[in-house]
Amino acid sequence: MGHPYIPNSDPEIRKRMLAAVGAASVEEFYADIPDAIRLHRPLDLPAPLRSEAELVRHMDRLLSRNKPAELSFLGAGCYQHHLPAVVEEIANRSEFLTAYAGEPYEDHGRFQALWEYQSLMGELLELDVVNVPTYDGFQAAGTALRMAGRVTGRRRLLVVGPVDPDKVSKIVDFVRPDHDVEVLDGTHDGWQVADLVVGADVAAVYIEAPNYHGVLDAALPTLAERAHAVGALFVVGCNPISLGAVASPASYGADIVCGDIQPLGIPMSFGGGNAGFIATRDEERLVREFPSRLFGVVPTVVEGEYGFGDVFYDRTSFALREEGKEWVGTASALNGIMAGVYLALMGPRGMREIGETILALTAYARERLAAVPSVTVPNASSVSFADFVVRFTGSRTAAEINTLLLERGIQGGKVLSDTDALFCVTEVHAREDVDRLAAVLEEIAK
């Protein structure tokens, strides 16, 4: 009897098919594999869970040891947002879930959905070129900077912090062969973005809006001017869910905008939901440096009908192998479709409302927590979006505070140091949730 996943695994069926191809046994097909490298024993794996019921039972036992937080203030690159049910519904459509790399004719729907994603992001970002999603925001930043390097032919990259140290690690590993990275971070030494001097050897200045600590730096437009003054590109990482209320980086001069679309309707999945975007103006010098696929709209032979295909396919490693820009392959297309559905559902008004709601709630949370004894909130004069730093000035460390919070049913922010933690609020939080956090901190932050 066959395995449910393998139609032809029944011995009788296999016998019949072997006869049809004139083979005595499957061993014949492996004739090219030398005996010396054959595995002459069964793999040492756990006994299979052959019935679906047993598999579910096994998995349920494992999953029961995971506890999604009831009230959590974690962000730091992976955000809790409400996930509209329609996004889930579309993402779970068997056709989208199991399609791969079909051609524009039989996969017209997939091409259209991804082109529409590009277009919807284009409206949000106010840019004409947006890629089919790359792996994640880390990769998007790394690729955006290499693109800038290829455009300018320069070696030096300035990364203006605070930026997630993990992201810096990825960037440094990724750009290493072509670039030296200088990270400027005023978190501890009082250095200000407005102080930055950009040298003429700089390929690109990278900064985030909001930055890793949630701050929307007032010097962003100034920085764009300084970069442009020396012919460097201005590369901005941003959180796309802020852009209904916050200005698009393109509007203050960004040449390349990148980031992560996970906030746009994609589940956190223990950090598995991230996916990256890169966007530029529609200039050939920029477009030709994209390693990713870019879908374009094409008229067909029938008036008023749209087809879709790859723009400038010959840039890619599919066409050119090592002469392509970086590489292209399976990336994060479905996350792009999901983000597209999300933006279509939200519309202009929804994006504005959610941006404003988060801005307002972040401001409230910072104010409310700053009022707790033994708690301060750095960057008090700046505006923050979602993430913000909380400093514990009492005798308990940030890690100890988190443990005490957890005992009270609250998952605290990401611990940054003994004193600091990165908290985050979004539209899933009600004002009462912040009040509850503040009340508990009043009790435990000592």
Binding site: P46, M59, E95, S269
Partner: protein, 493 residues
């Protein structure tokens, strides 16, 4: 459906979902940082957004709907629906990666156990599950190779990476991106990787060999041990691209052939769905010599508790945020657990049986041939050529592909490298029955017949698709390409 573009469906005043609004004051933003004009997204009610994407989904051909053997090189197999249910469970979907370890023991255990399964399947000592895809895993492997040689003071010296022409493109592209000089070995007359070319290529500058085996031709390199030996002799590392591992699961392992690193595409071999082109998931497996350089963090077990080890000073660092594409890792774990050792071997044997059965059927069709390694069996896929049919009729492989789509299935027309003329690559995997393969061969035979007897039918295909022939040239011209609706309105509307 003749579904319009989403921007054409806008109806001002409609909205798709309500958002929580607050009566708290919105802080004033610094100059230039407030959005001046709302983004010009369409305004649509919820049922309209849903209907639009429902229709687009029906215009998409997933594995679940067709005999998907034509995505050659891509190992299209059945992704069990039950595995999706684990991923959608809030106990996976709603976990934040920075939650307290005590609240995520289940997922850490799954990751730990999956690493263990892949260690046994590959024979390697450690596995990183962080790469987002096969290509990303190859890049991670190259990064580790770089770090390894650097740690031995040979970082500057070893600046060459060798690969073969039939290895996947990323085996050339990723080392190049990492700063290596790439040497590509061409196949010999029989389509096997040329060992003489390798002998000529290796030397003190050799950092590593990156090789796919079996290659996308379905041919297994029988001299693979010798390839590995030659590279090891000059101090290079050997890195195995196991994207085509499906046909050899439990038959032969990377470690058994002497490799130092390898990678798997979990979305191919281990059944996670392809999602229109990702998210996928990759796994990088290494011997203990490479272990210090693995991406951080690793998942460890102290006998009672699973924990995250981020204190790895020699690590190449992060490849992806957090822990990789966890949803697909969960699916791959469940898939392996449902099959076990015997099941994986059934997968391998059935997929090679299916492939050789399909070969015998396809080669009965007029105008098709199977270049290279004549008279040898293939492993789990085969690259055919329509060269004769093209010579006889003028019809190209690409056109045959368009016409095949009219019959409710398809084949992919990207067959890098473009060495085989008029190529068609088929990979039936274990998910298809004899009847499925017969049906697919029947469709090819019918289209080939048309090519000979009524070539216009093929030349003007597709006939049953949602759209008609496109004028492709506009995609290569900066004046007409339009990546977004904004660009379209500006250039073409």
């Amino acid at each position: 459906w003749d579904e319009p573009l989403i921007f054409e469906l806008t109806s001002p005043g409609e909205r798709g979902v309500g958002v929580p609004v607050t009566d708290l004051p919105v802080p004033a933003l610094p100059a230039g940082l407030a959005r001046a004009e709302a983004p010009r997204l369409p305004e649509m009610s919820q049922p309209h957004v849903l209907r639009h994407y429902m229709r687009l989904s029906q215009e998409t051909l997933g594995v679940d709907l067709n005999v998907d053997v034509g995505q050659g090189t891509c190992t299209m197999k059945y992704s069990p629906k039950v595995n999706d249910s684990f991923v959608r469970d809030p106990r996976i979907a709603s976990l934040h990666p920075l939650q307290d370890e005590g609240t995520v023991q289940g997922v850490l255990e799954i990751l730990y156990r999956l690493e263990g399964l892949l260690k046994e399947i590959s024979g390697m000592d450690r596995v990183s599950l962080q790469p987002a895809s096969g290509s990303s895993a190859i890049y991670a492997n190259v990064s580790m190779i770089r770090a390894y040689h650097a740690s031995r003071g040979e970082g500057e010296l070893r600046d060459e990476i060798i690969t073969t022409q039939f290895s996947h493109p990323t085996n050339a592209a990723a080392p190049k991106t990492a700063g290596y000089r790439v040497i590509t070995l061409m196949p010999d007359a029989d389509g096997y990787p040329d060992i003489e070319a390798l002998r000529a290529a290796v030397g003190p500058r050799t950092a590593a060999l990156l090789i796919t085996n079996p290659e996308d031709t379905g041919i297994f390199n029988p001299r693979i041990e010798e390839f590995v030996r030659l590279v090891h002799e000059v101090g290079g590392l050997c890195c195995y691209d196991q994207a085509n591992a499906n046909g050899i699961l439990g038959i032969t392992r990377a470690r058994d052939a002497g490799f130092d690193l390898c990678h798997f595409n979990l979305h191919k071999t281990f059944s996670t769905p392809h999602m229109c082109g990702g998210p996928a998931a990759g796994a990088s497996a290494v011997t203990s010599a490479l272990e210090p350089f693995l991406p951080r963090p690793t998942i460890e077990f102290d006998g009672s508790r699973y924990y995250v080890d981020d204190d790895r000073p020699e690590s190449i660092g992060k490849i992806r945020p957090f822990y990789g594409v966890v949803s697909n890792l969960v699916r791959a774990y469940a898939w392996i657990m449902a099959l076990g050792a015997q099941g994986l071997r059934d997968v391998a044997e059935t997929s090679v049986l299916n492939n050789n059965y399909l070969i015998s059927k396809v080669l009965e069709i007029k105008g098709v041939s199977l270049p290279y390694a004549r008279g040898r069996r293939r492993v789990e896929q085969a690259r055919y050529s329509w060269e004769k049919l093209n010579a006889d009729t003028g019809i190209h492989s690409e056109q045959i592909g368009y016409r095949v789509a009219d019959f409710g299935t398809h084949y992919w027309t990207s067959h890098h490298p473009y060495l085989v003329p008029e190529p068609m690559t088929l990979e039936p995997t274990e998910s298809y029955s004899q009847a499925d393969l017969d049906e697919y061969a029947r469709i090819l035979a019918e289209v080939a017949r048309e090519a000979y007897e009524e070539p216009e039918t093929v030349r003007t295909a597709p006939h049953n698709g949602p759209i008609h022939s496109m004028r492709d040239a506009s995609l290569e011209d900066p004046g007409t390409w339009a990546v977004t609706w904004r660009a379209y309105r500006r250039k073409l509307a």
